[in-house]
Amino acid sequence: MERQNFHKELEQLKLTIYKMAALARQSFENACKAYLARDDDLAQTIIDGDRDINRIELEIDRQSLRLLALEQPMARDLRMIVGIMRISNDLERIADQSVNIAERTIFLCQHSPLERVPAMEALIDISKKMFTMAVTSFRDMDAEAAKEIPAMDDQADEYNMQVLKSLIEVMAASSPGFEKRVLKMRRSIQTIIISRCLERIADMSTNIAEHVVFIAEGVNLKHIQKL
């Protein structure tokens, strides 16, 4: 009844998703760095690296389905595999959002910088922190650490709203010349989109945290307040 081979394969699957998490994190950290430093070369590497992450996602799907079909895992093992499939989905979307940030960054790099929006930096900090905590709590299977993440999401939403407000003001402020006004609006809107990407990454980090609690404890945090 001992299932050594299955458990070896399950460990292998975990290694694969750790690798995916590391790549997604690198992609996101670099996206933030490229945006802040206005580094379009760095931004381009994120776009180029996305294929690797997509490939790993397919690999995780393949391995997971194989184990589900052939091994009929139970209990914690079953929750682990289902959780890994969900987490890989969130990681892939985080990587997509990072690409999105990188694309906006390349546009912004071609023009002079907008005035600084402090809430944007705060949003970058908190979304980075949430994502890092989510990945770490998964690695350590630390449900208690994971449970701290959803509460941070409200703060991320708040920063996103502040960014929006600030940039609406920037856009509304009159400046001379039609061309200049259009360009300012375009830069502002690109920055608003980046802010929205960051807020989505905070959401998906929250999802990952919920999956960690599901794997560790078998309870679904999601929608629990609404039931």
């Binding site: 001992e2 299932r3 139970m74 914690r76 079953l78 078998g218």
Partner: protein, 253 residues
Amino acid sequence: MTDTIKFAVKKLDFYYGDFKALDQISMDIAEKQATALIGPSGCGKSTFLRCLNRMNDLIPGIRVDGEILLDGENTHDPGIDVVQLRRRVGMVFQKPNPFPKTIFENVAYGLRVNGLKNKAMLRESVEKSLVDAALFDEVKDRLNQSALGLSGGQQQRLCIARALAVKPEVLLMDEPASALDPIATQKIEDLIHQLKKHYTIVIVTHNMQQAARVSDVTGFFYMGRLIETGDTETLFTRPKLKQTEDYITGRFG
């Protein structure tokens, strides 16, 4: 849970001579549900199952402490008619064991023992039991042929029909599909889903996926003890105890 309790087992100890095979088992078995017993070989599943209709009585040197109540009545009371008990609590074994008689006579056997002589009634009962055991269509044209000519899976369903013929309330099944091929196994599992609408089923299986598929409640036995019991879905997705978790995920056993 407002399920009616069919069997209430209270602090059951069971000995083969000096060997204590069951230790302080307490378990309620709900009526018209399928209860699965799982656990590594030798943990006492079959012993427990046989306690429920006192099949162990046939083994010399056994001793039973504690209580097993069937519909509130202690099955080990001196006044209990054991033959009547086994009529109410039927049993199907691992290896199909049809009698070397015709298909019809195999199913009619218990009815004849009970004194039923009316041919029409016999025939009606036999056919109904075969229908309930999902075998009738396959054998209706050869009821007077030997049961030994049936396939293993058909023989097992014949044994189920034989058990059903005397209208039991409970059906005990000890690894009923372990000697069968996958298709025959599938038929038995489908049958269990049907049967539990009308009967209380207790099934021992070494196949955890099978327990997960067919049962409503699962009990995990280990070294003569009932470690954990709970509704099947919960037990197989998030068991409470690490020992259960380790067993069902194949980390020991």
